[in-house]
Symmetry: C2
Subunit: 223 residues, 2 copies
């Protein structure tokens, strides 16, 4: 990893002139002015990938959900809250050469109340969920689709089978699959699989920065 | 505010020998291993109150939901995730002379799934909500009730009316009411009303640290 970092700093900028969109973090779907539906993504893996691509000379737009992370050097950051906001920001950032969709986008939003929900004798309120736009699938099937569309699949079971299904359905070139029952949320480590139509590679356990550098190198090789 | 800070540092420790429980932050109620129901509390007001009470010499137990804040000096911190965890931690911290319940405790938890919920042809899942323990009411009505039980009421409408209802129903001595439609979440400023059976005082707009110091002084005057 140290050699890769040195190489990235002093070596040729292999992604100069290329544009990339990276999404990161969770989305928050408002239930009322106070409450939301969220998820445990910290944004660290996506921010590391945005940093690694920028390090290689790519012009990176990072569309970030609500996270407490500093913007990587040289990266243009757009902050969003909901999946619908994120879909709009990603569409506005097209065209691009590369899209890496790392954000844990909520599958559903809630029919939100304008006023804070109150406890009532009638019992707990009913939350009506509505499907969100699928940002990875929209990007993978867009008329101005990036040359390389990469998705992340966070799964708690049937990891590789689910990742392969998503690869095809979402029009992605590559999927990075990780098992989120292993407690990766908020930590600096991850264990991922690199899934393409050609097969699956176990990238083993590594820091989120290591995985980001490996992916950036792979992207540079492919473009 | 500067004079108050100096006085707190160099003046007599007016709460020496007293014990306090402070709750702060949101709670997260798991929907599945990845998703949760949350709220926009940053924990800043509760942490400021814990710091102000410790500054006055109180022995403070801070029961904190998931927040990204440093523990104030001299404060014993217990981290929790859900409202049910927080209720257990508060009960375990009793008896105490003072309880200041600042946390934005979720009113409901969700019948949580052991596996990550998936999109399905059957449409969005139904989230069944279940009422959480009311930590303020349990504390206000506990057999070993603190001498001073103080609650926070975050409201988007009928601020003072709602706060007065809560004061009586929850067995609290004082309520601090704030209008959360004014965008206080995550910021350092707040505008609160101090509500007791005797009446209501508008404390005006101030920093969360100022409000914490004013409340600590009020507590010291009352004990």
């Amino acid at each position: 990893a140290i050699m890769a970092t040195i190489a990235a700093h002093f070596g040729p900028k292999r992604l100069s002139g290329k544009t990339a969109i990276v999404t990161a973090g969770p989305t928050h779907e408002a239930i009322d002015p106070v409450r939301f539906l969220g998820n445990r993504s910290s944004g660290k893996q996506g921010f590391a990938i945005a940093a690694a691509l920028a390090e290689q000379g790519a012009s990176v737009t990072l569309v970030a959900g609500p996270v407490a992370l500093a913007t990587p050097e040289g990266v243009r950051r757009i902050d969003v809250t909901s999946a619908r906001d994120m879909a709009v920001a990603v569409a506005a950032a097209l065209p691009a050469d590369i899209a890496v969709m790392v954000a844990a986008v909520a599958d559903w939003h809630v029919e939100a109340a304008g006023q804070k929900l109150k406890k009532s004798a009638a019992g707990p309120p009913v939350l009506t969920l509505i499907e969100n736009p699928d940002i990875l699938a929209l990007t993978g099937h867009a008329p101005n689709r990036p040359r390389l569309v990469i998705g992340f699949a966070a799964e708690t079971g049937d990891l590789l089978a689910n990742a392969k299904v998503k690869l095809a359905k979402k029009g992605a070139d590559w999927m990075i699959a990780n098992n989120v029952s292993e407690g990766v949320f908020g930590t600096d480590a991850n264990h991922v699989y690199f899934v393409t139509a050609a097969g699956t590679e176990d990238w083993g356990a590594g820091s989120k920065a290591d995985i980001a550098e490996r992916l950036a190198t792979r992207i540079a090789n492919a473009l």
